[in-house]
């Protein structure tokens, strides 16, 4: 398949799958397996694109461009950079795992569900590969529609309120971003991201930052997070936390930092302060959260703060660490949410006070949860440690205070993850844990173990990503920023 078309295929193939599922009258089992098949083929397509990508060349690759609104200079322009190819990989893998989990768990109205998941895949891939502002916006909003339905229909008891807040917050941010896009595109004369230069307008910059800060989320715009992560079904939460939040981080990198060097250096301090606050705040709240999902949700908030710290340090260490941590955290939180789903299925609750002692007689669950947890707390030697170390080393050079806050967060992470692990696995058997609760079934293992395996490989070789994200100096590729 010739290079540019591969990128488009990565977007359209799952969409085609979605349409297929909506049109054909298949039985539920066939629907699920077809969806899973599509997702796995998508992963295969991604692997193909990695094979075709030349990591030693700077600039856009596997690109394709056709004009869309010629008088506005809007085009359909897609392509990959080093860092975006890893994010697309994260998307395809996590979505495949999520679809696999849903297939095993069984979902009502399967045709709608799997169709929406596949549509979501296409939309998120589109966000990562779009190189035109308007196209980027289209895919950004296209992400929201399936999520709205997925959370609102297949969620838990409080799903309607969660969806409402989620959608309103996201839309508010998106509208500000739309305003920024329009002003930027018209003033530059083109909407293309690759050919346009940098801009110095603070307001346009803030419009973009607003959208990404809501989606990431960045403290204090995270009010939608706890409800959304708690009420959605486990695989949707995995996608939200693992992939969709990275779209926001990608937006920070590709648009906000790359195109607005002046405003970045002006607003860097407030953003870094907010990110550091989010890091500590999320860690503290995770430490006291009463349920499994709460711990993972607030830890997500903390990690996004960490990633933002790395991005806005705008140096080699910070940016490489941030990209690595994006992939790490995506895999980790997906794993944790899917495991949380497994626990909830067995115990009908996520309340930590009612759980405990699940390690006895369930070696697979214990091993996998322990491994995932230990990587999540960034134990030295893990991939998450590599990312965290690089980020903090990078942000140290911008201001030592941020690194000290990060160091405190290291200790807090140990506290909240170990509390989670012990509350679920150790001590006395909890009142909600039935005698007959089984160990992880082969299907569950088949969904979660590949994610953990990738994490372990990355732990042995984080340079797989950091060496191949930016050619030359990261700071050069994304534009000059005053230090």
């Amino acid at each position: 398949m010739s290079s540019g078309w591969l990128t488009t295929a990565l977007i359209l193939f799952p969409v085609a799958g979605a349409i297929l599922l909506w049109v054909l009258p298949l039985r539920p089992f066939a629907v699920g397996s077809t969806a899973l098949l599509f997702a796995l083929v998508e992963v295969g397509l991604w692997i193909d694109s990695v094979a075709q990508f030349d990591f030693s060349q700077p600039g856009l690759q596997l690109d394709q461009r056709t004009s869309w609104f010629s008088d506005l200079h809007v085009s359909y322009h897609v392509g990959f950079y080093g860092f975006s190819i890893w994010l697309v990989g994260l998307t395809t893998v996590v979505l495949a795992a999520a679809i696999g989990y849903a297939f095993w768990a069984g979902r009502e109205r399967p045709r709608a569900f799997y169709g929406l998941m596949l549509l979501l895949t296409g939309a998120i891939v589109g966000v990562f590969v779009a190189q035109d502002l308007l196209l980027f916006y289209v895919f950004w909003e296209a992400m929201l529609v399936p999520l709205y339905v997925l959370v609102g229909v297949w969620g838990g008891a409080g799903r309607l309120r969660a969806t409402l807040v989620f959608v309103i917050y996201t839309m508010a941010g998106s509208l500000l971003m739309l305003a920024s896009i329009i002003v930027l595109g018209l003033s530059q004369g083109t909407f293309d991201l690759v050919t346009s230069g940098t801009n110095g307008s603070d307001w346009i910059f803030l419009g973009f930052v607003a959208a990404f800060a809501v989606k990431a989320p960045l403290f204090p715009l995270h009010a939608w997070l706890p409800e959304a992560y708690r009420e959605s079904s486990p695989e949707v939460a995995a996608v939200l936390s693992g992939v969709v939040s990275k779209a926001a981080a990608y937006g920070f990198l590709r648009i906000a930092i790359a195109k607005f060097p002046g405003p970045v250096s002006e607003f860097r301090t407030p953003i870094l302060v907010l990110a550091a606050c989010g890091l500590v705040y999320g860690s503290l709240l995770a430490f006291r959260a009463p349920d499994v999902r709460g711990v993972i949700a607030y830890s997500s908030l903390a990690q996004m703060g960490l990633i933002t710290l790395g991005l806005f340090a705008v140096n080699d260490l910070g940016l490489n660490g941030a990209v690595l941590q994006m992939v790490n955290h995506g895999l980790i939180s997906a794993t944790l949410f899917l495991l949380a789903g497994g626990i909830e299925r067995r115990t009908a609750t996520g309340e930590l006070a009612l759980l405990g002692g699940m390690a006895r007689g369930r070696p697979a669950l214990a091993t996998v949860l322990l491994t995932a947890g230990v990587i999540a707390l960034a134990v030295p030697g893990s991939a998450a440690f590599a990312g965290e170390f690089a980020i903090l080393a990078g942000v140290f050079q911008t201001g030592w205070g941020y690194a000290v806050v990060g160091a405190v967060a290291i200790v807090l992470a140990a506290m909240y993850i170990l509390r989670l692990i012990s509350a679920v696995l150790h001590d006395r058997v909890g009142s909600a844990v039935p005698e007959g609760a089984l160990d992880l079934r082969p299907a569950e293992l088949g969904v979660v173990v590949p994610l953990v395996a990738i994490l372990l490989v990355l732990s042995a070789w984080p340079a797989a990503i950091t060496e191949r994200s930016f050619v030359g100096s990261a700071a050069n590729v994304v534009g000059r920023v005053a230090k």
């Binding site: 260490l317 030697g381 140290f396």
Partner: protein
């Protein structure tokens, strides 16, 4: 040589992975043999590396080797790198050698436990982590080993995870170690900023050009990690709790290897510490204070393992004292002999615990001298070595430290005085333990368990008799446990004969290229110091004899002091008050005051705002035609006026 070093490092990791992946397909004994075999292979590889390194000339004994780039960022490149040099090989031998013996001992000790496989996987993981720590060729790999060792410690302390106390102890150990990790990370960030690398050669070459502030901060950060890992003041509270783990774990991790990592760190990064001499002095001072404090606390402990744990804390204080003065080789020498006799003591204690069906309270013990003669001898050797009585190993290493202290001006002499006090206390508490457990007539408990002839085995802390074998024998441990104890007994006896003061110094010469000592004690100082130390040790033993063996003198009772010591100087309570409770309060407070209003508020506020806006605009719709007509007319008038005016 490099291949041997990599083998030494990676084989235990392979064993850990194999045991984990094999799950139930491997027998419990099989897991034990696999783990022991892997560590044995490590030891052989370490010996081979040592032999090959001997072949190099002394100035040429530094061989780094990188497998691949681990973490890169622009120009920076941190590789998966090990360094073969005298110091790392020294540690490799100690870790893999003592580790091999202890893992072999575990086969007998943990026999019958349901989770044996998990235990051996964790032990193998630990050995790998410790080897990575000591073989690490740059500070990042050292930190990775550092953290993984903390992880293994957590996994092994909390091994019996149905016990809340064990789980809590494991978490406490990990979190306190994490504090050390954090301070070390900060030091590394500073080094990256200043030198652009973490490789030892580059960092040490730049040590002098760091500037006072940076050098002190780096050294402090590293020291923070060292005291967390080595359980020195003020991060020492996790070590006694760590005794919740199985005894071999206490022997390997919390006596012989992990807790000595802090000493290794200071020796390894000595150029950085020498650029910040005040911090080095601080290290020595903290070691001295810990030394005395731990010795005092050990006097009132009633759990056999906790006495030995505090003893470890105290002995590591000696090592910190040594390296804080710049007597690196002496500190490492003591590290080695301590590994021998402390592991011996723990393993002997394990034999006692095993024989008494898991009982650890020494008040229930007594008179085991005749019932467990082998253990009795082992314990004597360990105790005498610990107290520093010649010709046992502890004498040689401890005395060189004390002599070095004496030669170092007023500060050194202060530390020397602390060391002497420690020598007395060591004699006192170790002999106390020995006499209470082994001397006199067998206690009621002992009679019940050993003399009727039942050999019960059970897990520590549970006095459950899970298996009774009615043997009428001495109650001694099974051969699978005793042969390793035997080897350690021999090592604890002769291990010190490898270096004697100024006359015979292979260890000092071996380590010289890596860390040149800053102190040299004179012959008289050595003599005076040794005599005094031995004398004080003997006095301590004699007093313990009077009190506990002969029961001639009663234990002096000072209630306040007793309580202070029993509460371990109230450090646990202090930290709970200073750190744990505030963080819980802060977290709960943030949740109630910030998160709840933010999350609930945004929903409520949003809804209210929209509803009010809707209602406000709704009021425009009166339904009265005349109002509509009026508004039409008015707007028309305004538009006309504006139109005309703009024109």
């Amino acid at each position: 040589m490099i291949a041997a070093a990599w083998t030494c490092l990676l084989v235990p990791l392979g064993a850990a992975l194999a045991i984990t992946l094999a799950g139930n397909r491997i027998t419990r004994r099989g897991a034990g043999y696999l783990a022991t075999g892997s560590v044995a292979v490590s030891f052989v590889a370490a010996v081979v590396t040592f032999a090959l390194l001997l072949g190099d000339s002394p100035g040429d004994r530094s061989h780094p080797s990188t497998l691949w780039s681990w973490l890169t960022a622009g120009q920076l490149d941190f590789g998966l790198r090990i360094l073969v040099d005298p110091l790392s090989v020294f540690m490799m031998l100690v870790v893999s050698g003592v580790g091999m013996l202890i893992v072999a001992y575990s086969i007998g000790y943990m026999d019958g436990d349901d989770e044996e496989r998990r235990y051996f996987a964790y032990m193998a993981l630990f050995v790998f982590s410790m080897l990575l720590l000591v073989q690490g060729g740059n500070l990042l790999m050292l930190l990775v080993g550092w953290g993984l060792v903390g992880l293994s410690s957590y996994l092994l302390i909390g091994f019996w995870h149905d016990r809340p106390s064990a789980v809590a102890a494991a978490k406490k150990a990990f979190v306190m170690n994490a504090i050390g990790d954090a301070t070390m990370a900060l030091a590394l960030f500073l080094l990256i900023q200043r030198t652009g690398s973490l490789n030892f050669e580059i960092v040490f070459a730049n040590a002098d050009s760091l500037g006072v502030w940076a050098a002190n901060l780096v050294a402090l950060g590293l020291l923070g990690g060292a005291i967390a890992k080595s359980a020195q003041l003020p991060l020492q509270t996790w070590l006694p709790d760590a005794m919740e783990g199985p005894t071999p774990v206490s022997a390997l991790i919390h006596a012989a290897t992990m807790v000595t990592a802090g000493v290794y760190l200071i020796v390894r990064t000595s150029p950085l510490f020498e650029a910040a001499p005040k911090v080095l002095e601080l290290a020595g001072g903290l070691g001295a204070i810990t030394l005395v404090m731990a010795g005092l606390i050990a006097l009132v402990q009633t759990d056999i393992k906790r006495v030995i744990a505090y003893s470890t804390m105290s002995q590591i204080g000696y090592m910190f004292l040594a390296v804080g003065l710049g007597a690196y080789a002496d500190g490492m020498f003591h590290l080695m002999t301590h590994a021998f006799f402390k592991a011996l003591l723990f393993m002997a204690a394990g034999l006692v615990i095993h024989a008494l069906a898991g009982e650890q309270d020494i008040r229930k013990m007594g008179g085991l001298r005749r019932l467990m003669p082998f253990t009795f001898v082992a314990f004597i050797v360990g105790t005498l070595s610990l107290t520093g009585i010649p010709p046992f190993s502890g004498f040689f290493s401890k005395d060189s430290i004390l002599a070095a202290a004496l030669s170092q001006g007023w500060y050194g002499q202060l530390l020397w005085a602390a060391g002497m006090t420690g020598a007395f206390l060591t004699g006192l508490y170790s002999a106390r333990l020995f006499f209470i457990v082994f001397w006199g007539e067998p206690s009621a408990f002992v009679r019940e368990h050993l003399m009727i002839g039942s050999h019960a085995s059970g897990r520590e802390g549970h006095t459950s008799h899970e298996r009774h074998e009615t043997h009428v024998h001495s109650g001694e441990g099974p051969p699978s446990m005793t042969w390793t104890v035997g080897i350690l007994t021999v090592l604890a006896t002769i291990g010190g004969w490898i270096q004697f003061a100024d006359l015979w110094t292979p260890i000092s010469s071996w380590l010289d290229p890596v860390a040149e000592p800053l102190v040299e004690a004179t012959g008289t100082q050595e003599l005076v110091s040794s005599l005094l130390a031995v004398g004080l040790g003997l006095v301590g033993i004699w007093i313990a004899w009077l009190i506990y063996a002969e029961r001639q003198v009663r234990v002096p009772r000072f209630a306040q002091v007793q309580r202070l010591l029993e509460h371990k100087f109230y450090f646990d309570e202090l930290y709970d008050l200073l750190f744990y409770r505030p963080s819980v309060l802060l977290a709960t407070g943030l949740y109630r005051l910030v998160e709840q209003p933010l999350v609930l508020g945004s929903i409520r506020e949003l809804v209210r705002a929209f509803r009010e806006a809707g209602q406000g605009t709704g009021r425009l719709q009166t339904g009265l035609v005349r109002n509509y007509a009026l508004s039409i007319a008015a707007s028309l008038a305004i538009v006309t006026v504006v139109f005309v005016a703009v024109r």
